[in-house]
Amino acid sequence: MDSMHRRATTSIESRTVSDQLPNGLKVVVQEVHTVPLVSVWCWYRVGSADEGPGLTGASHWVEHMNFKGTVNIPREQMKGIVERFGGMWNGYTWIDQTTYVETAGRDALDQMLFLEAERMAYGLYEPAECESERTVIISELQGGENDPDQLLDTEVTATAFRAHPYGHPTIGWLEDLGAMTRDDLYDYYRRFYIPNNATLVVVGDVDATDVMKRAEKHFAAIPEGAMPQRIRAIEPEQLGERRVIIEREGTTGYVKAVFRAPAASEPDFFPMLVLDAVLTGAKGVNLWSSFRGVPPQRKARLYTALVERGLASTVSGAILPTVQPYLYTLSFTAIDGVSLADVERAALDEIERIQRTGVEPSEVERARHQLRARLVFDNDSVTNIAHQLGYFETVAGPRFLPSLQRRINEVTLEQIWDVARRRLTSAHRTVGWFRPTSRS
């Protein structure tokens, strides 16, 4: 078996084993025998950043279609493959990645790998199914529009980017969702769903050697493909503040301030991560874990400046590891009766204060402890461990996660002050307001 693989590595820090099949599929396995479960994730390096004009939303729509039957799994039999073992299955798409997950009893491992291999190569994309899913996705989009905070996020993100496809929403623009064809989707699927553009992650009550054998059984016959051409847009430097104001029926005001963030590969990423913890409290350091629960933030700068002063009911910050420079987003919910200008002014005053005087050593110590705790909490289940491994492998490479804690610990006061002064400037920010109007 060893001779069939191009390389094999072991990461002692994370107790993972990784290998690569001859067709380029990377397989990452971690044995965790705490519960009789196994979590399988199949990650593809394709997301809304790969969508050109007219194709916005294609990555996400393709993800939906991969629940709609394959050559060897008729559509009506897709449901039940994992459920018979008590399993859950799902998928998500974001700017850099599309991923599919199944977590079930360990006896379901073979079925889960079979399902993922079918998805990778043998999706049906029946025209009628594509049409049916078009309206499902439009319903998903409209559900998101019901949330004014999400609506504002879409507009602010689109305003912050002029050239890069990170600017359009992952779900796509409604007009493109109405116009795309089955062939658009199928072509997109065939371009990106190839083993050498994917990583299979298996974590749970398994034997790593056995997993590698099974992965080979299910995936080895899928041929390597030509690596897809990527969109090469580089966002031009922002020269001045941009603003967007949405006025719609509603009850509550929202404010967002976004700044250009470093990519995960840039040295600035780590001081920005600590700075965000100082400003809004530490979250998990990947997309999924960043949403889990409320961060410890009662002593965070923006919480004390806005929530404790009765200006906002919530404060949040988000900086996530991405392949290319994305956004650092600050979000505020205005207290009923407080003006959006007051909320914005208080937030920017606090940022300017940090730009003038930097942060305190005690704040950095607190932020480091918070981030250390979050990295532990994110390993609380086989599903979350597998997500974390796959996320970082896909957007930041295999060395990111093992070095993450060290890189956080090495961040200095000077580096934090420096990124605050260079990156959180007025010229680099986009501000958005959702100003509610009365419902007649």
Binding site: M1, A8, T10, R15, T16, V17, V29, Q30, E31, V32, H33, T34, V35, P36, L37, K79, G80, E83, R84, F85, G86, G87, M88, S132, E133, T135, V136, I137, S139, Q142, G143, E145, N146, D205, A208, M212, R248, E249, G250, T251, T252, G281, V294, P296, Q297, K299, A300, V307, G310, S313, T333, I335, D336, R372, A373, V376, F377, D380, S381, N384
Partner: protein, 435 residues
């Protein structure tokens, strides 16, 4: 392939089922500890049977506002001091309420466990409810209510509860209060609620994680032994006040893109012997796969909704079985017709043998996933304690589900699934809910 480092091997016996240690103090407080060394972390879930059910008549929202303030200052520690203790350990303390519970929950590093446990006991026992904090937290609560007024999903769900139970029933009235009631709640109301309801007799403290069970039980006893309070009182939930006839409420929300539908019936209590049959029934109707028969029809065959499912969370009193769907406003009538059709068909014909087999297999197989994290184990053990299910419930559950017969599910379906008895709430830009 290079061999891996040593795999993570559990030191406790979670793979074979839970093995919690339980102890009840003389004041009625109960401590339950489950060891798990999967990660160097600990989850604490301290639950008092004191949710919105305990709100004073005519003043809904007291329990929820109490929860918002309870950790914002004690007799010995200011809100700022508590904030510092939490934040420096990377800990978020969540205090929230349901109809019957006030839940203090937190996950911390094992090295911080003793301090965090002590802090949770401190705020639960000696909350001071400073006036200045009341002003801030009340404003936050009002903002949340205003956000909910703008949320079709929340509006439809709250309207359904009121249709099913009536506006004054503890399951029908607004759990977070109204703007008017929040403005009337003063510090005295919170102090009284805390004194009357936050008592050791209704406390179960569950700890799950990288701890020593015996030492943890001892520590909980030390912290709680001198706390006195009234005995546990029986919880009597009145039957639904509203007759079971078709009721429809439409909530116009101009400017929204999608319409939310909440459709439901009142069903059984958690301790009803038919509970597991209802659980299987709900799975067939609106859970299995992407959402059972409902999603097969509304999402998969008709492409009308991103989500269509049912849920059944049985509680102390007769609890609702609820169908939810979010649809394009022009599809509201068709969606309600589809829900009616699926509800009627399952009610008249019951499930198929194949549906019984796949739902039973799914529910039994999913038991380990119910216990995948320390937090989910703690929540599971709280249910075991509140409903006296036994600490071996995780091991008995498969047998209980396996014993459910098709006749029992058919009987449950025939009893409850009558579209002519349904309550239907529709919130969105154009409300064309039917009748």
């Amino acid at each position: 392939m290079v061999p891996s480092d040593e795999p993570i091997v559990m030191s406790s016996s979670l793979a074979a089922g839970l093995s919690p240690v339980r102890h009840t103090l003389s004041n009625g407080a109960t401590a339950i500890v489950q060891e798990s060394s999967a990660t160097p972390a600990v989850s604490i879930n301290a639950t008092f049977l004191a949710g919105s059910f305990c709100d004073p008549d005519g003043l809904p929202g007291v329990a929820d506002l109490t929860a918002r303030l309870v950790d914002r200052g004690t007799a010995r520690k200011s809100a700022a001091a508590i904030a510092e203790e939490l934040d420096k350990r990377g800990v978020a303390l969540r205090v929230g309420t349901t109809r019957h519970r006030m839940i203090f929950s937190s996950t911390c590093l094992a090295e911080d466990f003793d301090d965090v446990l002590e802090l949770i006991v401190e705020v639960a026992r000696w909350a001071a409810f400073p006036e200045a904090e009341l002003v801030k937290r009340r404003a936050e609560s009002i903002t949340v209510l205003r956000q909910n007024e703008d949320n079709p999903s929340v509006r439809a769900g709250e309207a359904l509860s009121e249709l099913l139970y009536g506006p004054v029933h503890p399951y029908g009235r607004p759990a977070k209060g109204t703007v008017a009631t929040l403005e009337r709640i003063d510090r005295d109301a919170l102090v009284k609620f805390h004194a009357d309801e936050i008592r050791p007799a209704v406390l179960t403290a569950v700890v799950v994680g990288d701890v020593d069970a015996a030492k943890t039980i001892d520590r909980v006893c030390e912290l709680l032994a001198d706390w006195n309070g009234g005995p546990e009182r029986p919880i009597v939930v009145p039957p639904p006040a509203v007759p079971a006839v078709r009721r429809v409420r439409q909530i116009p929300m101009p400017g929204k893109s999608q319409t939310d539908i909440a459709y439901g019936f009142t069903a059984i209590r958690r301790l009803d012997p038919r509970y597991h049959a209802y659980w299987v029934l709900n799975n067939i109707l609106g859970q299995f796969g992407l959402g059972g028969r409902l999603a097969d029809n509304i999402r998969e065959r008709q492409g009308m909704a991103y989500y269509a499912f049912s849920e059944f969370n049985a509680n102390v009193g007769e609890s609702p079985l609820v169908v939810r769907a979010g649809v394009d406003p022009k599809n509201v009538d068709r969606t309600i017709e589809a829900i009616d059709a699926e509800v009627r068909a399952l009610g008249l014909q019951g499930p198929t043998d194949a549906e019984m087999d796949e739902s039973r297999s799914y529910l039994i197989g999913s038991i380990p996933r119910l216990l995948e994290t320390n937090e989910s184990i703690a929540a599971f053990l709280q249910d075991c304690e509140q409903f006296d299910l036994g600490l071996d419930y995780d091991r008995r559950l498969a047998g209980l589900l396996n014993a459910v017969t098709i006749d029992e599910v058919r009987a449950a379906a025939a009893e409850i699934l009558h579209p002519e008895h349904a309550a239907v709430a529709v919130a969105g830009p154009e409300t064309r809910g039917g009748e």
